[in-house]
């Protein structure tokens, strides 16, 4: 009975809530993860060709980076609303909005990663008879991977947080629970959904950090001591070109 009461007294933490609504919480979390994963994967698939295009020269880099920067400036609420006439009240609307956001960071980081590949490495590969395709896949991309992964981590963490705004059209994963709880000031639900959201972001970040280590074993042998990966991944961000609010952007935009 005492536990039942926490629903009545509207406590912040309520075991009875977590028990009785566990299905609701699970469904919302699954939707949240689904929307995030689909958005980031599509974002990655779109960002790669864009980055390759931008690499072909200033003529392409200006418009590509300019456009993605403008998209990033549009507030999420406005972005989802602008897409409403096209997609209606659907998960596709939320995914499209999130993809457009992820492009800024992903394109910039992929581009910076590719541009940071040492020219000697390219020359050596060409000298060994590598064609452009094989050069890209077997030499440039692996060397660009740390920067790409840094961008992927930032994009994923932001996407997890932004997905909540999708509750505007009823497809916001855990954001839906937050929205539903507001009219009745249901503290336990708002807090539980919010905490789950942050946990999801941290878990995704750690997962990607692990993946990065797995994919780039050579970065660990190089001898320089790397700080153990904290949830924030403080080491990669400031180095990563998309780091704090993307430093290279303004200069590139001017060029366009």
């Amino acid at each position: 009975m005492a536990e039942q009461n926490c629903l009545v007294t509207n406590d912040w933490i309520c075991g009875e809530y977590l028990r009785s609504r566990s299905q609701e919480l699970t469904d919302a979390t699954v939707q949240h993860i689904g929307i995030t994963v689909v958005s980031v994967l599509i974002g990655l698939a779109v960002a790669f060709p864009l980055a390759l295009l931008a690499r072909r020269g200033r003529r392409f880099a200006g418009p590509v980076l300019g456009l993605t920067t403008v998209l990033y400036t549009v507030p999420s609420l406005a972005m989802f609303s602008l897409l409403l006439p096209v997609f209606g009240l659907s998960a596709a609307l939320v995914v499209t909005g999130l993809v457009l956001y992820s492009l800024t960071i992903l394109v910039r980081n992929i581009l910076a990663g590719l541009e940071a590949v040492p020219e000697e490495a390219r020359d050596a590969a060409r000298g060994m008879g590598y064609g452009p395709g094989r050069l890209l896949w077997e030499v440039e991309l692996p060397l660009a991977l740390p920067a790409v992964m840094a961008g992927l981590r930032i994009a994923t963490v932001s996407t997890v947080a932004l997905t909540t705004v999708g509750s505007l059209v009823g497809k916001g994963g855990l954001g839906n629970l937050i929205e539903d709880a507001l009219p009745s000031f249901f503290k336990a639900q708002v807090l539980a959904a919010s905490v789950l959201c942050v946990l999801l972001a941290v878990a995704a970040d750690l997962l990607l950090l692990g993946l990065q280590r797995l994919l780039t074993p050579w970065t660990r042998i190089s001898g320089t001591s790397r700080t153990p990966g904290t949830a924030g991944g403080g080491r990669t961000d400031p180095d990563g070109p998309g780091g704090p609010a993307g430093l290279p952007a303004p200069a590139k935009v001017e060029a366009g």
Binding site: P75, S81, L82, V157, A161, L162, S194, V198, P244
Partner: protein
């Protein structure tokens, strides 16, 4: 094209701009909370970041705070405020949330800007006999300026975006036009509100880019 035409009609109808829930009032609210929040955030973050950067400490804090800021959903923070008594205090829930999300980009960028100042230049300035204060004002600050402005720009854009999300928890601002449109299934109004919110964000970004160029202490173009 129908929606765009309807949205244009909505925007050009005077009645939609006047009154308590009108666009003009919402725009005023939006600018007010954004302005106050940005000023408070600058007052908190910039002195702290510049000081930490000058003495070269607290890097982990300055960098990690922006990662935390990214991971926490704006909507969740606003919603948490709205289930506390804070909801009865007018614009304060919005302003506090805006400050919380404006501090990380300001702090991180200003700190990184200060730390990225070439050590050789700092040593040279010290060798010329500059005091800590002189070094800060004449060398570090001008060289860190581009990064500080980058931080200010992303903070300002973040603030304008966050202020629109405040509407989702029933607080004021331009976002209310959008949420009101959703409640009445008025797609034209949703679109019109979105155009206003997006336009404001782009305008803020544009003005700050212009100011950045105008005020740059070095008055040089950064190489592309």
């Amino acid at each position: 094209m129908g929606v765009i035409g309807d949205a244009w009609t909505w925007l050009t109808t005077g009645a939609n701009w006047s009154g308590d829930g009108g666009a003009a009032h919402r725009l005023g609210e939006h600018l007010y909370v954004s302005g106050v929040a940005l000023a408070v955030a600058c007052a908190i973050a910039l002195p702290l970041a510049l000081y930490l950067g000058h003495i070269g400490r607290g890097g982990a804090l300055a960098v990690n705070i922006s990662n935390v800021g990214r991971a926490v959903p704006v909507f969740a923070v606003l919603a948490l405020f709205m289930v506390t008594p804070l909801r009865n205090s007018g614009y304060w829930p919005t302003i506090i949330a805006l400050v919380l999300f404006a501090v990380p980009p300001l702090l991180t960028n200003a700190y990184v800007g200060m730390r990225e100042v070439d050590r050789a230049v700092v040593e040279a300035a010290r060798g010329m006999g500059m005091s800590g204060g002189q070094l800060f004002v004449r060398v570090e600050l001008p060289l860190a300026y581009p990064m500080i402005m980058t931080g200010l720009r992303s903070a300002a854009v973040q603030v304008v975006a966050t202020a629109s999300i405040a509407a989702m928890v029933g607080l004021g601002g331009l976002g209310r036009i959008i949420t009101a449109g959703f409640n009445t299934y008025d797609t034209a109004q949703v679109f019109a509100g979105a155009v206003l919110v997006a336009g404001l964000a782009l305008l803020v970004e544009g003005v700050l880019v212009g100011l950045d160029r105008l005020l740059s202490p070095l008055r040089r173009r950064r190489p592309a």
